[in-house]
Each structure stands twice: as C-alpha cells, then as structure tokens.
C-alpha cells in the first residue's frame, strides 16, 4: 500500500500581525500624515489590499531630511559610539523578539515563503544590527584613520525583494557610523519598514535619527535630489541607478549603488553533483529569483550536462509553489503584476529565440501573481535571456568545454555582482575565482549572506560595498 505522501497545509498564523488600515510617514520619531496622495499595498499571493500608505511629496521629503539633519547635528553625531551601540543592540534584540511578527508580515506583503522570511531574512536582519552595533565604538580601527567622521544625512532607497533585510543593510552601518537616515522602502513592500519604525520608537531611538517615507519613484527622486542629504545609498535596478548617478553628478553627495546582476553559476565535471543541484536551485529559485545576485545563468561542463539537467529537473519537481504562509512552500508569489509581466515577456522571448523551455508540473493558485520555476536549455550568449536580468524564477542553461571558455562566458556580461563555482578541486576554485569579474564568488555554495562579508558589484552591478568592515567606508569620511 503506497499512497502519495501529500503534505497537508501547514499555514503560519496571521494573527500575530496587526495591519492597520492606513499608514502615515515616520518623520522625527512620529507617524504623520503625508501631503501627497496615498497608495495601496497588496498581498501578491491573493491581490488582497492590505493597507493604504501615504505617498510622500516634496514637502514631506523636505520635512524628513530636516528632521534627520536636526537629529544629526544635535544628538546622533555627538553621541559616543558606545552609546549609539546600545540603541543598535536594543533594536537587534527587539527584532529577534518580534521575529515571527516581522516574518509573517514580510511574507504577506512581499509574497516570499515564510520559511525564507523566518529562517533567512529576519535572522540576518537581526545579525546585521548586532554586527554593526559592535563596530559603533571601534570605528577608529576600521582602517579610515584615527578619527573617522560620519557623513551626515543619508538618503536610502531600497527594493522590494528583501524589504527588511535591505533596510538593515542600509540603516545599521549608517547609524553605527553616526549618520542619520531618511529611508524610502519600495512602494510594493512598505509594511515591514513601517513596523521597523515602530521598533525604533520601542527602542527609544532619538527622534529624527531614522525617518521612513513611503512612495514610488517620484518620492525617491525628490529624496536623491534634495540638497540636504550628504549620501545616497541605493539598491535596485541598473536603470534607476544610472538615473541616480546622473542626478547627483556635480554635487558632493557620496553614492553607493547596488544594482542588477546576471550571475554565472559554473558547474565543473568534478563537482559534488547533488550539492551543485541544490546550489543551482538555491541560486535561482530562492526568493522566486527576485535576487540581484541570483545565479540566473547556469554554465555546466558539457560532459556532465545531461546528467546534471536530469537531476535538476527531478529536484525541481519537488519544489512546492504556493501560499507564502504555508511552512512547506518553497517558491512563493511574484511580487507584483508588473514584475510578472516582465518575467513572462522575457520568457516568451527566450522561447521565440529558440531556447527549450521546461517547468515541472505545478498547479498555480487562481489569484495573485505566480510563475512556475522554469529552465531554458540550449541557450547561447546571444540570447536575451542570457544577457538581461529577468529577476524571476527563470534559469538559462549554457554549456562549456574548458575552464577558459567558462570564464569567458561568465565574464561576458555587462553585470558583475556574483558568481558560483562548483568543483571538488580546491586549486580550481582559487584559480577561477581570481579570473571572475564579480563582487562575490561563492565556492560550492550559493546565495549565502553574512553581515561580516562585504557585498557589491563590478561594472553595471554598481559600486561601493555593503557589509563587513568595507560597509563602514560608505558611511565615513
């Protein structure tokens, strides 16, 4: 008697989160009404409206920057590092205490599986605050001279793929170094940033040190162009990154940009195959492929290509796509209708260009935005799906014969954010890694993040590093 082992639904309870019908802007330690219109944030898994969120206009941006400047001048830049550290430690502990609430809210607003928000995003968020809290009173050892000074007010704009994690990457080092911030979360995922604002209140963070303004591209543009900020930190698309670089050109604002990627995940014939399959899956299907450093190009050595693809397809057949709040979901919802349209468009182009498209059989929910895990085989460097960032669960598979060819193909992209190498041969790892033009090179793993490790790109993937000691440099003069 063998019956299929169907996992019954195991939904995480939503009761722990309390989503308000509407949210204002967090300026100078308080929630205030915005002057602009409001917009709706929805659950991408159900298209249900979650809340109305204020759209900050120029006057709101100005108020936020001024609040940040006051807090910088009067409190935060004068406070000894060890005192700033206490606030950061306190925030980190509150994040841990409220981790389930944050994880559930993140999954509701973003569409990512609860197991990822619970086991990856939120723990790393807390770790980031703990890590940079430790730096706050040791900045003279950061390699920036004996008396490094903060920059001032940082304008920070973050994407929707890891809403709270990107907030942590931005805010933790900025605050540790003595800067104050005005942060704009993405318009499709503002809720955890607004909950973070509550956490700042709970931690008694001095008013104005952290300001959170919601809105779309116009709000971000106003923030970047505001004369009162000293630093712009942006994570998002390469197009917007270029626009930001143009806006700040000729000013003395410092800029760090963390942009797109089209990472090569290179599997050699002596790789640990079963783990490589896991790494390919983690590389492209983690977070629905909404990862700037996703391993979206698989470069596999020709001699093992068939075997590896067979294993990969079998593994993909076990991926569970569906309700982000189900604890057994591996792949959640695409974040927005707009992003879904882009993934569909590029996938259709891939098919039209002659690549072989394959997805495992999976039943997608009726409502919400969904795209099945997909691979394209027979892809060449000339295909658009091998060149453009799809930012979805779509993998392009290419083959190579020699290590030199692998390196050439891996580097033949305008991007340079990350790469992966799979081989049991240590000397090969070292040699290939040194030849790859990518900010992060993972060896026999992929998409591993740690606050102590710097992250950032080459070429059109941006400049500046976040994380680790290097991450301090972006916030010190």
């Amino acid at each position: 008697m063998t019956t299929p082992f169907d996992y019954a639904p195991a939904p995480e309870s939503r009761s722990i989160v309390d989503i308000k019908p509407s949210y204002g802007l967090f300026i100078n330690g308080e929630f205030v009404d915005g002057h602009g219109k409001s917009f709706k944030t929805i659950s991408p898994a159900t298209e249900e409206v979650l809340a109305e969120v204020a759209e900050a206009d120029d006057a709101d941006v100005d108020a936020a920057v001024k609040a940040a400047r006051r807090a910088y001048d009067r409190v935060w830049s004068r406070m000894p590092g060890r005192e700033r550290a206490k606030y950061l430690y306190r925030i980190a502990r509150i994040i841990q205490e409220r981790s389930r609430e944050l994880a559930v809210l993140e999954s509701i607003d973003n569409g990512k599986p609860i197991k990822e928000s619970r086991d990856v995003d939120i723990p790393i968020v807390a770790a980031h605050f703990f890590y940079y809290a430790g730096w706050a009173d040791k900045l003279e050892y950061a390699g920036r001279g004996a008396d490094p000074r903060p920059l001032g007010v940082a304008g920070q704009i973050i994407p929707w793929n890891f809403p709270l994690l990107m907030l942590a990457w931005k805010i933790a080092p900025a605050l540790a170094c003595g800067n104050t911030v005005v942060l704009k979360p993405a318009e499709t995922t503002p809720l955890t940033a607004l909950l973070f604002a509550e956490i700042c209140q709970q931690a008694d963070l001095p008013p104005g040190v952290v300001n959170i303004i919601t809105g779309a591209g116009g709000t971000g543009q106003a923030l970047v162009a505001h004369p009162g900020i000293d630093k712009v930190a942006f994570t998002g698309s390469t197009d917007v990154g270029k626009a930001i670089a143009r806006t700040v050109a000729g000013t003395d604002k410092k800029v760090t940009l963390e942009l797109g990627g089209k990472a090569a995940n290179i599997v050699f014939d002596d790789a640990p195959l079963d783990q490589a399959v896991e790494g390919i899956v983690t590389g492209i299907f983690f977070n629905q492929g909404h990862v700037c450093c996703a391993g979206s190009r698989l470069l596999v050595q020709e001699s093992i290509a068939d075997e590896l693809l067979a294993k990969l397809k079998r593994r993909m057949s076990t991926l569970r796509v569906g309700d982000p709040l189900d604890k057994n979901t591996d792949v959640g919802a695409i974040n927005s209708a707009e992003q879904l349209a882009r993934i569909r468009e590029l996938s259709d182009i891939g098919e039209a260009e002659g690549a072989g498209r394959w997805s495992p059989e999976c039943v997608l929910p009726q409502h919400g935005f969904w795209f099945p895990p997909t691979i394209f085989t027979g892809v060449t460097q000339a295909h658009r799906i091998a060149r453009e960032e799809i930012f979805g669960p779509v993998l392009s598979v290419l083959t190579f014969r020699t290590p030199a060819e692998a390196v050439e193909k891996a580097n033949n992209t305008p991007y340079g954010l990350s790469a992966g190498i799979w081989t049991e041969k240590g000397s090969r790892i070292l040699k290939i890694a040194s030849q790859l033009r990518a900010g992060v090179v993972w060896a026999n793993t992929f998409n591993k993040f740690d606050p102590t490790s710097p992250f950032g790109g080459y070429k059109e993937s941006g400049y500046g590093r976040e994380g680790g000691r290097h991450g301090l440099e972006a916030y010190l003069r």
Binding site: D6, A8, A10, Q275, N444
Partner: protein, 320 residues
C-alpha cells in the same frame, strides 16, 4: 557467482576497476549535504499527512533488541508487540520485523508464526565484524536455518578503510550466497556500514555503491553500537545512492537508518527525506525501515494523540 547488474559487470571485474569506479563517483560536499538534510527537516507535517506518516513509520519499524542480556521472554514480548503494537487499538498496523541475535531467531519465529512480521537477524560477527569469513558465513547460515527472513550483516570496516574494496565486495557476495535457503528462497540481505566508523560522506557514497553492486537488498547505516549511529545527512547520501543506482540499473535497493532515532518527529523527518530524495516508491516497508527500539512507543503515543486528541503517558504503552 555475482549479483552485479550487467551494466556494472566491468566495474567489479578487478580490484583496480572497482577502486576507479568508487573513487570516480561524484564527491559529497559536507556542508551542502548537511544543509540539505537540515532544510528537509523543517518540513511541517500536520493532520492527515502526519497520520499517514505515523502509520507508515510504525509499519517500517524493525523492532530491535540486541543485548547480551536478552532472554527468550523478552524476545517473545517484543514479537508480540511487533504484531500488535497498540493492544488497545486494532487499527494500529504491525511493525515490519523484529531484529535479534541469531540465537533468538527460533524463539522470535515461533511467536511470530505466519503473522507477516519478519524476523531479522544480525549476523557475521555483529557488531564488529572481526572474524574469519567462514565463521561469518556459518553465523549467517545458522540464522537462516533457524528461520530468519532477513539477515543484517556488517561489513569489514577495516578492509574498507584500508581500501580493500574487493575483499569487502567478495564478502558481501559470499554472505548473500549463504542467505539461500534449501527451498530456493533467500533471506533478504541488509548490509550494515557502521557509518560512524567510515566518517566521511564520500565513504558512505562509495560503500553504498559497493554493497548495491554486491547484491544487497538493503543498505543500513549502523549497528546501533557505535556513535554517531543514523543521522539525516548520512541517510540522505544513501538515499541519493539508491536513487541513482535504480536510474542506472533499474534495480531498487532499500535503506535502513538504525540507531538514535527515538522520536516520531525524527522519524517523520526521515520519511520526508525519503519522499523528496528517493521518491514515493521508497515509502514502503519493503524499501525503507527504521532500526529502533524506543521509537515505536513514541510513534504510538503520537498516534493515540492524533486519534483521541489526548496525550497519554508512557505508562499506557508497553515497555520492551
């Protein structure tokens, strides 16, 4: 005389071809394998899925007693329990087998009769395997003649670690031959690796292929006498091996983690792994077993909780 599938004939022809093949298997990245096992361990198995898993796990238990102080009375009690694990609930399925030392096989067989519950016997100088081959074969024949349906042999770990793969292979082949009964049937052969002594996952993958090529019906992690015994990552590597072996040869081989699996929660983690790594075909007592003693009572307690909604204490279940 060999059990090797024909596609692998060339592999087992010489010591050096055997070595080349085993060392040519893809390596196992320790960090990656352990991360995968841990990831599968986070599956949340609830309600109907849990009820299914608990019953399946009970049907997969090789209820084991391997102590110097075992008595015929204890073996009879164990056999009775294997047939009706929960005397209060006739819907509770029977365990797969009882697992005993060779001298207890006849006692176990007598109690179990035609119940369908098998008698498994350890053999080949269990648990160390440190004896001459003819003694191991005699040990095996003794258990088979006494009525054992299944033989759990141990490999010569010393020979394996020294790289004498041919010797290990030949020994498994010889023990398998000794499992033949006069009526033409075979006792099923489970091959115990004692992975706690082999230590690396690369070794686990190699020994799995070695045993499968030599004709093992089941590959089994441990004797239970050495720590660590069964672990999720070791079982993962073995499940990958049986999956790949079927892909190549068309033959299915079973897997038995043994030792250290004590809770229903642990057992369910193993079943999730079987389901997602080897596939549904292995979700059957013919292809997956748990070597355990205390596990059964926890499975029964969880099962009672599922059916009645109440937790009962250990006093309500029989001690072995």
């Amino acid at each position: 005389m060999t059990s090797t599938p024909t596609v692998l004939d060339d592999v087992t022809r010489t010591e050096s071809s055997l070595r080349q093949f085993l060392h040519g298997l893809p390596g196992v990245d320790q960090v990656g394998a352990e991360a995968r096992a841990a990831g599968l361990g986070t599956r949340s198995i609830k309600t109907s899925a849990k009820a299914y898993a608990l019953d399946l796990a009970i049907r997969m238990v090789d209820l084991t007693t391997l102590e110097g102080q075992d008595t015929p009375g204890k073996v009879r009690a164990l056999a009775a329990k294997a047939m009706r694990p929960d005397p209060a609930d006739p819907t509770c399925p029977a365990a797969a087998a009882v697992c005993v030392y060779p001298d207890m096989v006849a006692t176990a067989k007598q109690t179990l009769g035609e119940s369908g519950v098998h008698v498994a016997s350890v053999a080949t100088a269990f648990p160390s395997g440190r004896a001459a081959l003819d003694i191991k074969l005699a040990d095996t024949r003794d258990a088979v003649e006494a009525g054992a349906d299944e033989i759990d042999m141990v490999i010569d770990r010393g020979a394996f670690l020294a790289g004498h793969y041919q010797r290990v292979y030949d020994e498994i082949v010889a023990v398998k031959a000794a499992c033949a009964r006069s009526n033409g049937e075979d006792a099923h052969l489970k091959v115990i690796f004692e992975t706690g002594e082999l230590q690396t996952y690369d070794n686990v993958r190699r020994v799995s292929w070695l045993a499968m090529m030599a004709g093992a019906h089941f590959i089994k992690t441990s004797t239970g006498k050495v720590q660590p015994a069964a672990t999720l990552p070791v079982t993962l590597v073995m499940l990958e091996a049986v999956r790949d072996f079927r892909e190549l040869t068309g033959q299915m081989v079973g897997v038995k983690p043994a030792g250290g699996i004590r809770t229903a929660k642990d057992a369910i983690k193993y079943l999730v792994m079987v389901n997602e790594v080897a596939g549904q075909d292995w979700l059957d007592p013919d292809w997956f077993r748990f070597g355990a003693s205390t596990l059964l009572n926890d499975l029964l307690m969880q099962r009672t909780k599922m059916t009645t909604g109440r937790y009962s204490g250990p006093d309500y279940f029989t001690l072995d």
